[in-house]
Symmetry: C2
Subunit: 184 residues, 2 copies
DNA sequence: CAATTCACTCAACGGCTGTTGACTCAACGA
DNA sequence: TCGTTGAGTCAACAGCCGTTGAGTGAATTG
């Protein structure tokens, strides 16, 4: 009926995306070590060997599945602290699976640890520039660490007191705390 | 020369402690999954089978090595927020290896996750009582999450900006932020 | 001293894992 | 139409892991 609904290139594209999607989900749920090529393949309804053939190794699969689009934080235009405080809510909402996978693995997978550390160091430097005064770097690091801790407690650990709270309420309650760090 | 420097009971006690110590160190450094009975045995200079014989299973070894003395938080006497803020410094200093092992594993080992979640929930409830007003539980949870985040960033991830900072400086910089959460 | 207990070792099993190479067969190009 | 490409499968290998059971020899007990 249709003229080739499944070209070879199309099929390949879709299968690759199915594998990447399954990988993201399972990496986010179980972390790097406990994620199995076989489990990813099963979730993608594909033979395990195909995953290897397409992505080379488990580590390569992790790299490609979990690579974050990495929206550069508006380089050049120095985002003021105020606007960052306004964005808190977004960071509390449902995060991309790639980010969750990274965070899930960062304490037990050295590569993930280095990747996250690098990204956080970048955020710290960016924030410290916007703050400027005295021990800006330390306070910026504490702001980033705070966001990290709340995200972990909320999304990864599921602290009881946070499980029912909406991103907006969390962001609102958190704002004075972060402002106290941003100022002196 | 000496009269029985090594009684049977003594030898056993020391060997057990050697195994537990090695287990704590490796669990803290690599987390549950990546820790090998063989690696623990090697570090304790003992046959892997002996670890099994003494502790039953890897999970049991983890439980016993990582069990925290669990100083009850002075039940009965409601510790005021002020005193807790004073204790921040201690929590930033070198933590017991058992605690580090627990934290290292909490994102990838369900049992560790539940244990940590339970402990943190307890701290939240305790703190919320001391706060009292309005949405005390949410703000208490954010205080605990902040401490968690800073500890992770400092001890487990090694954020560059935090690596050179003394516990006292971190505690001092953090205090206004936590006070903002404790008040309205 | 003889019998027993027990700390400790040795060698192996069975399962799971990442990874590989040979194979099948439908889509493709000439 | 026919040879080639390439998506996808199948079966297996090799290594590591938790765990086990039989064994050894020194400390203990009577």
């Amino acid at each position: 009926m249709e003229g080739t609904p499944t070209s070879r290139a199309e099929r390949r594209r879709r299968t690759e995306e199915r594998i990447l999607s399954a990988a993201r989900a399972i990496f986010a749920e179980r972390g790097f070590q406990r994620t199995t090529i076989r489990a990813v393949a099963a979730a993608a309804e594909v033979d395990p060997a195909l995953v290897m053939q397409y992505f080379g190794s488990k580590q390569d699969l992790f790299d490609q599945a979990v690579r974050i689009p990495s929206i550069p934080p508006l380089d050049g235009e120095l985002e003021p602290v105020e606007e960052l405080l306004g964005r808190i809510g977004m960071k509390m909402g449902p995060l991309p699976e790639a980010t969750l996978a990274m965070m899930r693995s960062m304490l037990t997978h050295p590569d993930a640890a280095e990747e996250v550390r690098g990204k956080l160091d970048g955020q710290v430097a960016h924030l410290a520039d916007a703050i400027g005064t005295g021990d800006a770097e330390l306070r910026a690091a504490l702001m980033v660490s705070t966001m990290l801790g709340v995200t972990i407690a909320h999304q990864l650990l599921g602290l009881t007191a946070l499980r029912g709270a909406s991103p907006e309420r969390i962001a609102e309650a958190l704002r004075p705390s972060l402002r106290a760090l941003a100022d002196g």
